[in-house]
Symmetry: C2
Subunit: 330 residues, 2 copies
């Protein structure tokens, strides 16, 4: 029993999963992780990825459990395990078939991005020149995701689509991994307008630790990061923020190539990198992996957050969001 | 609340589903039905069939509910609804992929036949000339079905494969819809050897009302049918028998053609029929559909079954079997 420890929830990772990483989660006291199980995969390929997780749940049941509800997360906390919550960075697993939203939810998916950098069937990605907003199919998908309890994630979507998703969705949405553009300008970071609308609608922002989203990139300072969190809390509310590190551990460069190029690009797309800087960015000194969440909590305390406020940002805000988001609509 | 009515469970139907039929189930007091959602469909096609059911559960939630556990069946009984239990008449939905067993179970499948008339990747069907028994893949599939709680159904399988499945399976199996060959000789009916082994292993037989499986076909008499049930109870035990009508309502002849020919046959296969008798057999006078289960119960009483014995055959035996069969292995 480790239930006296704080609840730590990371609302995005996409590591090269292994027992070693699951052990690091335990060592770091990580209660729940939203794991990416698809970038460009279609339905059948996503099922294959779920099958792999089903085997990991069997083989490493002493460390990880499926996370499909806030209750699963609480039980994981009591048992000193990590709840694994499935999410998609793109809508490709539902293909052109609205009925797959419920099927994928039945199989444990709890987050789906409506678009990943590019235009999708549902919405526009943040790398497109034009953003015509949520599509006809997208409006139906939002209603269906609302109905079954799959969270709309707009981390990689463009601004108009994001504002429309916030408006159209009858339930609060999430931006699981991004930072405010006021702190660091990047296509992936979000404007004050988006963050305010997100906070006012009861949605959640997860702060990213991916160096391309950070002021100073891999040299970003912890105190600067925590100051940004404090300023974002002023903008969108202390209850609407959490962590979504975008942590990658142990992935080969072929994965970042897959993320950026999928099957759609004949020319190499370098995403947030460049031809001379095509691979993964270097790690932060104060956050290398799942053992280091304590550093963030310490940084927040040093910035003046109270202990209950730190607990909210490190996990309890996400837990409350899961509570009202993962089940069927009332 | 209709919980004073008996629990009636039909362990196989494959009707042309509609609100009208769901209303007939309610009128007939049918507590649960194992419905066929696949004959030859591959994984993606089976998902499509599940999607259709998901919509029916939404549209007709006042009449039907998903049946994934004995608890679901009991709740349906209390609420005066019918629990719908998904099953496959073939192993085609799992394709060549052992991981799909768990995925399909997560989506609600609770019965899977290892073969449908023909040789499959797992076992031999009852129309093949040779039966080499359970295959290498079949042995692994049986273990996996045991692990997750998907019932092995050998209704359309050949004798050696069936005996081996009973032996290899660590959990009791089912023959959801067939009759004893001692009463009516048919490729689909089962020998004393199979029925005895089934009963001794704690497995279940569901008595079929499909005319091709009946003595006298569509002219079969109710008293003869009930006498056959009494003789089968003597052979395999009163706790190991139930109903599995194989009821078809409102299906066009194209469905019986699909069942018999799938995509595998260039020549037309007539299955249990013939070229001159290619369509559905005519109905029985005393069992035309879901309103008529009371006739069977009356017939059993007339044959000398006590009231508790009738309740067991009409539903409680299946309910107890569901209780120990649908969850993960201990």
């Amino acid at each position: 029993m480790t239930s006296d420890k704080p609840i730590i929830i990371d609302c995005l990772q996409y590591c090269n999963w292994s027992r070693e990483i699951f052990e690091e989660m335990k060592a770091g006291g990580v209660t729940a992780v939203h794991v990416t199980i698809c970038y460009h995969e279609q339905f059948r390929e996503t099922i294959q990825n779920m099958e792999r997780w089903n085997r990991w749940f069997q083989e490493h049941g002493d460390l990880i459990v499926p996370g499909r509800s806030a209750g699963d997360v609480r039980r994981a906390h009591e048992d000193g395990k990590t709840a694994i919550i499935f999410g998609f960075q793109n809508c490709s697993p539902m293909e052109d078939d609205i009925g797959l939203v419920e099927i994928l939810h039945q199989l444990g998916a709890r987050f789906m991005q409506l678009s990943y950098n590019n235009q999708s069937l549902l919405a526009t990605g943040c790398y497109e020149a034009e953003d015509p907003g949520i599509t006809r199919f997208g409006k139906q998908a939002i209603r269906e995701m609302n109905r079954v309890g799959m969270v709309i994630d707009m981390s990689h979507s463009a601004q108009r689509s994001t504002l429309e998703a916030i408006d159209l969705s009858e339930r609060p949405i999430a931006i699981t991994h991004a930072n405010p553009a006021f702190w660091h300008t990047a296509l992936r970071n979000k404007s004050d307008e988006v963050l305010k609308a997100l906070g006012e609608s009861g949605g959640m922002l997860g702060f990213s630790l991916y160096p391309f989203h950070l002021n100073g990139h891999s040299n970003c300072r912890l105190d600067d990061f925590c100051d940004m969190i404090a300023r974002t809390a002023d903008l969108m509310g202390l209850d609407n923020i959490g962590i979504g590190t975008d942590l990658v551990q142990g992935q080969p460069d072929s994965i970042v190539e897959w993320m950026r190029n999928g099957r759609w690009s004949l020319e190499t797309d370098y995403g947030e990198g460049s031809k001379d800087n095509a691979g993964w960015p270097g790690p932060l000194a104060w956050f290398e992996g799942n053992r280091d969440f304590g550093n963030i909590a310490e940084g927040l305390k040093a910035r003046g957050f109270t202990e209950p406020e730190v607990d909210n940002v490190m996990g309890l805000n996400w837990l409350r969001f899961f509570e009202t988001s993962f089940g069927p609509q009332d």
